[in-house]
């Protein structure tokens, strides 16, 4: 509640500021209060003295019919609608809530199975690579090369990083529906 009040205050200030700038453009005699300054002079500024009579401020307000700013309607729409009350929290009857809980638990279970499947897939692929590398490390050759030569070459990271590391054609997203020509079979080098 306090935050919304402060925002409303900000908006009223904003409209006041725009009105003031328009008035200074037309009549340069009026003094504009500097709203957003934190200098010592503005801190020391006193509130304007209350008007003596009851009818005098009313007349002054009526006379201040400044031309509307270009954002007037936009701001009015926002001010009318931005501060609508939050909708009430969900209320559910006992069985309905039980159904909701069941759905929630089923979803959690589903997600868990998905995560575990992904985890398993990754460890399986890693194990495959690990075993292949281990076999390669024990391999002699080719030709007159010694043991583990191919492994050492395979472990080199040349060309892995940098701009040429991954071709730009590979950065294609998966889509919900294929392209009109789903695959370019006639690609020629």
């Amino acid at each position: 509640m306090a935050s919304s009040a402060s925002i409303t205050g900000l908006f009223s200030r904003l409209s006041l500021l725009s009105r003031n700038t328009t008035t200074t453009a037309t009549m340069t005699t009026t003094t504009t209060p500097r709203l957003f300054s934190t200098t010592s002079t503005s801190l020391a500024r006193k509130a304007p003295p209350p008007a003596a009579g009851g009818s005098a401020p009313k007349a002054a307000r009526r006379s201040r019919q400044a031309p509307k700013s270009e954002n007037f309607f936009r701001i009015r729409t926002l001010r009318r609608n931005m501060f609508s009350p939050a909708p009430p929290p969900l209320r559910m009857a006992r069985l309905r809530y039980l159904r909701h809980w069941t759905i929630h638990r089923a979803w959690q279970l589903f997600r868990r199975k998905q995560h575990e499947a992904i985890e398993k897939e990754r460890s399986r692929m890693h194990a495959g690579m690990y075993n292949a590398c281990e076999e390669l490390r024990k391999t002699v050759g080719p030709g007159s090369r010694g043991e583990g030569y191919l492994y050492r070459v395979a472990m080199e990271k040349k060309g892995v990083y940098g701009l040429e590391g991954v071709p730009i054609e590979y950065a294609r997203f998966q889509t919900d529906s294929p392209a009109k020509e789903a695959w370019n079979h006639d690609w020629k080098r």
Binding site: T77, N81, S84, A86, P87, P89, L90, A93, R96, R99, I103, A106, W107, F110, E121, R124, M125, A127, G128, M129, N131, A132, C133, E135, L136, R137, T139, V140, G141, P142, G143, E147, G148, L150, Y151, R152, V153, A154, M155, E156, V160, V166, P167, E169, Y170, R172, Q174, T175, D176, S177, P178, A179, A182, W183, N184, H185, D186, W187, K188, R189
Partner: protein, 332 residues
Amino acid sequence: MAASSRGSRAFRGIFSSSPTICSRCATTRFYSATAATETKAPVTDASPPAASTKTPYPYDIRSGLVLTRPPLLTRTLHPFENAYFFYQKRLEERLNTPFITSIYFKPDTAAQLDWSLKVQERGGTVAKELGTYHGKSSNAWDDELKVGDQLSSQESVLNSLLKDAAARVSDDAEVIAPEDVVPVERPVERLSEADKKNDVRRLDRQMERTLYLVVKGPDGWGFPADVLKDENLHEGAKRVLDQAAGVNMNTWLVGRVPVAHLVQEPVMGKNGEVQKKGRKTFFLKGRIMAGQADLKGNPFGYTDFKWLTREELEKELSPEYFRGVRNMMADR
């Protein structure tokens, strides 16, 4: 500490015969050869390694390439996922703040007319794919679908979005007659022609799965592979692919590290001589981005090729071959 002290110490370690470092360790030893094999050698006496250095290595080292086509489409959602997302959207309808038309549409414009027309047809529901449902009314509790209702399926979501996308009001703010409304073009089917014909040579089949290139050689179906000729694995794999399937493919070798291997043990005689050499085949992983395989004039005797998914490979390859390479295959 002087900057050169470390280097001089290392040199001293190699060249001097100091008692702290044995002469075997002082010789150059690569990190890939473990200390375990070094320590094993003296225990088994010097004769077996000596024999192995004299006789040629009893394995042919082969380099192969598993060329894969990554999935082109997102996966089909599980029906439970569809239903759950629909359920959540309707709960969100109950919980959100009301949609304020005047913020998003200027009054008396074609866009505003179009919007109000469509919302009226939906029975006042702002969301496009939720059917007629009012999250703020007294019937808001009735947010669950009946069993067998197809409203939450991908198909009906797509249809409702397409229906909403068609323009109903012309630019000069006149309502277009229903027979003159131009429907929005539907997206292309996820099931392609090749899927319907079951054409296993095409690359636009099974678009939400990974496809693997297999070729039919003298030994049956398998991935293209060849014996290394004094080259490294990745160079060998590249050469094999170019020779076997032609150069008209836009491919990318993912790395130099092998992802799968197959070992065929050698047949040894009684005296330890090699009667038939074994085979060690290391497969690298490649991705294809465009083009098609062409086996014309390949030197390996490949006669046919196919682009298959994992399940189809399991039927096509021999069991021990598949067991060797199955670990590198993704679930999808």
